[in-house]
C-alpha cells in the first residue's frame, strides 16, 4: 500500500509520496470496505468538475501546554477516532505516512448505504500532513491538517482545497446538504481535538471561493463516481455476506 519517497537532494524529499500512476490497495483493515480506490489515479484541485473552494477550520488552543508537533502527531494517531460515526477512516497498518492509503467508508446526505472510497497521504511531516483524493471521490483536491504557533498559542488547522469531482457530487454539495455535512465533519474533528487537549471547542471557519467556474471538460469523471459505484456494488456485498454466513 506504500510508495517509498526517494531523492535526498531536498529536505522535504522524505515527506512527499512518490508519484504513482495508479493506487494500489495491498491490505484492507478489518471492517473496511475497499472499493473505488484500487487502480484509481489521484486527482488534485485542477482535475475536478465543480467550483473550487478553500475551506479553513482553526482551533486556537490557549492554555494547552502542547507543541504543534504533538497536536499533529495526535491527529495522525487518532484520526479514525476523531472522525464522526458516519465517516469512518481506516489507515493502513503503517499509519499516516507518505504514499499510504486511508480507506474511507462514509454516508452522504440523500445517498442510501455507505460510500466506499479512500485518500492517499500526499505529504506528511512533523507539523502537517495532507490527504489527496482519488478519481471517484466526492472531491478532487486535498485536505491539509497542520498545527503552528501564533502569539504563543498553538493553533490546529484543517484546510481543504478542493472541488466536487463530477456533476453529481457538485449537485450534492450545493443542493443536498453535502457541503454542510462536510463542514460538520471537520468541525467535529477539531472539537474532538479540543476535548483531548482540554481546551474550549471554538472552531473558526473561513470559506473562500477560489474558482467559480465549472470545468465541463471534467464532467466525464462521473464514470468513477464512488457513490454510484458503491450503490451498484451493495447487492454484491450483501450476497457475498449471506454466502459467507452459510458456508
Amino acid at each position: 500500500m506504500t510508495s517509498e519517497p526517494t531523492g535526498a537532494e531536498s529536505r522535504d524529499a522524505a515527506h512527499w509520496a512518490h508519484p504513482v500512476s495508479r493506487l494500489k490497495v495491498s491490505d484492507v483493515p478489518t471492517g473496511a470496505v475497499s472499493l473505488n480506490v484500487e487502480g484509481r489515479q489521484v486527482v488534485g484541485p485542477l482535475q475536478g468538475f465543480g467550483q473550487l473552494w478553500q475551506k479553513t477550520y482553526r482551533l486556537r488552543m490557549p492554555g494547552a501546554q502542547v507543541e504543534p508537533a504533538q497536536v499533529v502527531d495526535h491527529m495522525k494517531q487518532k484520526l479514525p477516532e476523531l472522525m464522526p460515526p458516519g465517516s469512518r477512516f481506516y489507515p493502513s497498518v503503517s499509519g499516516v505516512q507518505p504514499g499510504e492509503l486511508v480507506l474511507i467508508n462514509a454516508t452522504l446526505p440523500g445517498v442510501p448505504g455507505i460510500i466506499a472510497t479512500g485518500v492517499m497521504v500526499l505529504y506528511s511531516d512533523e507539523e502537517s500532513f495532507t490527504l489527496m483524493c482519488p478519481e471517484g471521490h466526492p472531491e478532487a483536491g486535498w485536505n491539509t491538517f497542520s498545527a503552528y504557533e501564533e502569539q504563543g498559542v498553538t493553533v490546529a488547522q484543517i484546510q481543504s482545497l478542493a472541488r466536487a469531482n463530477d456533476p453529481v457530487f457538485e449537485f450534492g454539495f450545493r443542493f443536498m446538504g453535502g457541503s454542510a455535512q462536510q463542514e460538520r465533519i471537520w468541525r467535529h474533528v477539531l472539537s474532538g481535538l479540543a476535548q483531548a487537549f482540554g481546551v474550549p471547542a471554538e472552531v473558526e471557519f473561513l470559506k473562500t471561493l477560489v474558482d467559480r467556474k465549472l470545468q465541463w471538460s471534467q464532467a466525464k469523471n462521473v464514470w468513477y463516481n464512488a457513490a454510484i459505484r458503491s450503490a451498484l456494488y451493495a447487492p454484491v456485498r450483501l450476497i457475498r455476506r449471506l454466502v459467507g454466513r452459510r458456508s
Binding site: 512527499w16 504513482v20 478553500q54 482545497l161
Partner: protein, 119 residues
Amino acid sequence: MSQAKISISVRRAGTAVSIVDIQGEITSFAETALTEAYNQASRGGVNTILLNFEGLEYMNSGGIGLLVTMLIRANRQNQQLAAYGLTEHYQQIFELTRLNEAIVIFGSESEALAALPQA
C-alpha cells in the same frame, strides 16, 4: 508563528513575459510574498508568468496549494503560468499533484523564453 523564509523578485523579459525568481521555501507562510509577486508580475499586459525555481530550497503541501491558487488567478486573467529550474524531485511533486498538466515546465530560462510567445 513560523515566518516566511522566502525572497522573491520580479523582472520582465520582453513585453509579454514576467519572470518571478523564487529563493527559499514555499510553504503556506509564503502566501503574502507570492501574492505580491504575482500582482507585480502581471502588470502591464503580461500574458505569461515564468516561475524560476532554481533557488527553491523547500516546499510542502501548503506551498503547492499556493501555486494552485496562483494558477487559477493567472487563468482568470488569460495568462499562462510556466516554470523552469525545478530539480527532479520537485518535477516529481508537480507530477504527483498533477500541476504539470497545467503549468508548462522548461529546463532553463533560455529554453522557456525561446518557446513562449513574446507578444
